[in-house]
């Protein structure tokens, strides 16, 4: 499978992608701390059997402004797409995620999934999530899930009661939260992300 990684602010991520019959693409977007980003991306699944595996991580511990818009369009049937976006937002940052799965009429046997999870770290941060489904075919499996929450205090207590200092324990929690996306990245980028956690 074609696999691409884009670090926003360093690499130029495509705005529009088209996957033809049988094409498979795995893509990971990384928005490191200190990056303001207004990113919109559109992926067309235009031929049967096309597969998209899209993931993203955004870290906004300071005063970042991140606005992510993703449109996955299933133009023909028999395609599958999977999206996973994870964000950590603190400080006075604002992060918005707007993801739409569009399934065209007669795009039967479509499989489309989308997940967006955010951790909110401070009183002054703001998060907005708009996961959307627009579906015009009946023989499909589509779902999305979205959550916003905070670091679980019970987990923190567990770690601290075993002698792990608070800051480190919080880092571990965040690493665990981000792990499903981070493990797609090469070691050096993942290390960089770990080091930059608030």
């Amino acid at each position: 499978m074609d696999s691409r990684i884009y670090v926003i602010g360093r690499d130029c991520a495509p705005q529009f992608l088209r996957l033809d019959a049988g094409e498979e693409l795995s893509m990971t977007l990384v928005i490191p701390p200190g990056t303001d980003a207004g990113l919109s991306m559109e992926v067309d699944l235009a031929g049967p059997g096309a597969r998209l595996d899209l993931a993203g991580v955004y870290l906004c511990p300071g005063a970042e402004r991140v606005d992510l818009r993703v449109l996955v369009r299933h133009a023909t049937g028999g395609c599958s797409s999977r999206q996973l976006f994870k964000g950590i937002v603190g400080g006075t940052a604002r992060a918005a995620f707007d993801g739409l799965i569009y399934v065209a009429p007669d795009a039967q046997k479509t499989e489309a999934y989308q997940e967006n999870h955010t951790l909110l770290l401070s009183d002054t941060a703001r998060v907005e999530t708009r996961p959307q489904l627009e579906i015009y075919a009946d023989d499909v499996q589509c779902s999305h899930g979205a959550t916003t929450g905070y670091l679980n205090p019970d987990e923190l207590f567990y770690l601290r009661s075993r002698g792990i200092p608070e800051a480190e324990a919080r880092h571990l929690q965040m690493q665990a939260f981000l792990a499903p996306v981070l493990r797609r990245l090469p070691a050096e980028i993942a290390e960089e992300i770990h080091a930059s956690l608030p």
Binding site: P105, D106, Q108, T118, L120, L121, S122, D123, A125, R126, V127, E128, T129, R130, P131, Q132, L133, E134, I135, Y136, A137, D138, D139, V140, Q141, C142, S143, H144, G145, A146, T147, T148, G149, Y150
Partner: protein, 483 residues
């Protein structure tokens, strides 16, 4: 399965589609300040209410209809609507109800005589009914019984006359006049509706219910409902509605406001069965309503349950503002669309108070060429420490020409609040159908059975007599979609 899902040809049964022949009086067609003054004069309203209406009208004139709904709304000519229509009072018998109206509500299964029960099953308790016919309330039953406990349940016009202080204090306190285009229109021209006040600590001994009937042609219905539940009180409120079959679209723009004080508990249930239009999408009611409640005091609770099967177009978002600490709210919805119906419905849960909780369960069913959308907002304010929301939106598609959509918005400003949302879309699987048909259940019955099971989580929240009605409605609405 493919042969089962064929396009809809059979005429859908809408047994409430008859017209009642009664003498009616109307105000002239159109909308301007004179019409509003005329409506206000007909209802013998006090000065402050006329001013309220005129203020709303002036605001409305500067507003434009909202475009964000996933709907193809026909252009509405607001000057081509009669804003007030009422059956004429018989001069000889001013205190009794016209037998023709009595018969109408009898036919609809709504008991206007006390000691009778809703059609279908015999419920344990009685139900007090406020019956609204076009622009006026025909009667309100069980008023005496309720008054013994200090409960006020009457038509809105009566409340204005007899309890002006209560009305004035709470009117437009939840849905401000300029909230949206249709709410402003309603505030300017609202006719009748229900008013309900439950005093401190009183548990309402019976279910209260409003029944709205559109009869006259060329009119719109603009009812206004205000429910106030004082500290520690409890009430279950139901709302039903039907209209005749006509080739024209008729506008229904209502506003419902609910105020829930400390530790009070309000349950609001709706079975919406306005005329949905015919199989080709002609006619039907445009149902553009604003419903909102506020959980004002701590520990208060508001629960919305809706079954939406009718209307050509539904634009409706019963919402709750969770202001009191540890208050909670629920929204349970089944929205069913068939033929060319369009529905854009959902809820808003606005968490302001600490430890507030909300739960949203929405089940959409689309068939034929219909469009069915869930649209929702969950907002966690800066003070909503420890607040929690869980939303679940499922869509079921029957046939390949319909659409099902989900448009939720989650906004969080609090690092100690949790929001969870999930949505799925699917169709009735071949396996489920096969299982039923090989046991001798006809395909149509099998679909009704599966849909019933799918919607059960919501239907089970309805008061019993309503649940039976709703179950029947779902199977009627499905008719022609399968088989």
């Amino acid at each position: 399965m493919d042969e089962l899902i064929k396009d809809l040809s059979s005429a859908q049964e809408y047994k409430e589609g008859f017209v009642t022949e009664v003498d009616q009086e109307y105000v002239p067609k159109g909308l301007n300040e004179d019409i509003i003054r005329l409506i206000s004069a007909k209802k013998q309203e006090p000065e402050w209410l006329l001013d309220f209406r005129l203020d709303a009208f002036r605001k409305w004139q500067r507003m434009t209809p909202p475009q964000w709904g996933h709907l193809k709304l026909p252009r509405i000519d607001f000057q081509d609507i009669i804003y007030w229509a009422a059956p004429k009072r018989d001069e000889d018998r001013p205190d009794t109800i016209d037998p023709a109206l009595m018969e109408t509500f009898d036919k609809l299964g709504i008991p206007l005589r006390e000691r009778e029960v809703l059609a279908g099953v015999k419920p344990k308790g009685e139900v007090a009914v406020d019956a609204v016919f076009d622009s006026v309330s025909v009667t309100t039953t069980f008023r005496k019984t309720l008054a013994e406990q200090g409960i006020i349940f009457c038509s809105f016009s009566e409340a204005v006359r007899e309890h002006p202080d209560l009305v004035r204090r709470h009117l437009a306190s939840v849905v401000p006049v300029g909230d949206n285009f249709y709410a402003a229109l309603n505030s300017a021209v609202f006719s009748d509706g229900s008013f309900c006040y439950i005093p401190k600590g009183v548990k309402c001994p019976m279910d209260l219910s409003s029944y709205f009937r559109i009869n006259a042609s060329g009119t719109g219905q603009f009812e206004r409902t205000l429910i106030i539940a004082d500290e520690g009180s409890q009430v279950s409120y139901m709302e039903g509605c039907t209209a005749p079959m006509r080739d024209e679209n008729q506008l229904h723009a209502a506003v419902v406001e609910i105020i829930v004080e400390k530790d009070a508990d309000v349950k609001y249930s709706t079975v919406q069965n306005w005329y949905p239009g015919d199989a080709q999408g002609r006619g039907g009611i445009l149902n553009l309503v604003t419903k909102r409640g506020i959980c004002k005091g701590s520990g208060s609770h508001l629960s919305w349950t809706q079954v939406e099967t009718g209307s050509a177009i539904t634009w409706k978002y019963p919402s709750t503002i969770l202001k009191g600490d540890y208050s909670s709210s629920e929204f349970y919805s089944v929205a069913m669309t068939n033929n060319y119906q369009q529905a854009d419905t959902g809820t808003k849960m606005i968490h302001l108070g600490r430890g507030t909780r909300s739960r949203v369960v929405s089940k959409g069913i689309s068939a034929g060429h219909s469009e069915n959308s869930y649209r929702g907002l969950v907002q966690m304010g800066p003070a909503a420490e420890g607040a929690r929301n869980y939303s679940q939106c499922d869509s079921l598609l029957i046939g390949s020409s319909c659409g099902a959509h989900t448009f939720p918005v989650i906004r969080s400003q609090n690092p100690h609040a949790v929001v969870e949302h999930e949505a799925t879309t699917s169709k009735i699987s071949e396996d489920q159908l096969f299982y039923c048909t090989q046991r001798g259940i006809a395909p149509e019955d099998a679909v009704a059975l599966i849909v019933g099971g799918y919607a059960r989580e919501v239907l089970s929240r309805l008061p019993m007599e309503f649940a039976v009605e709703a179950q029947k409605l779902l199977s009627v609405s499905l008719e022609g979609a399968v088989g």
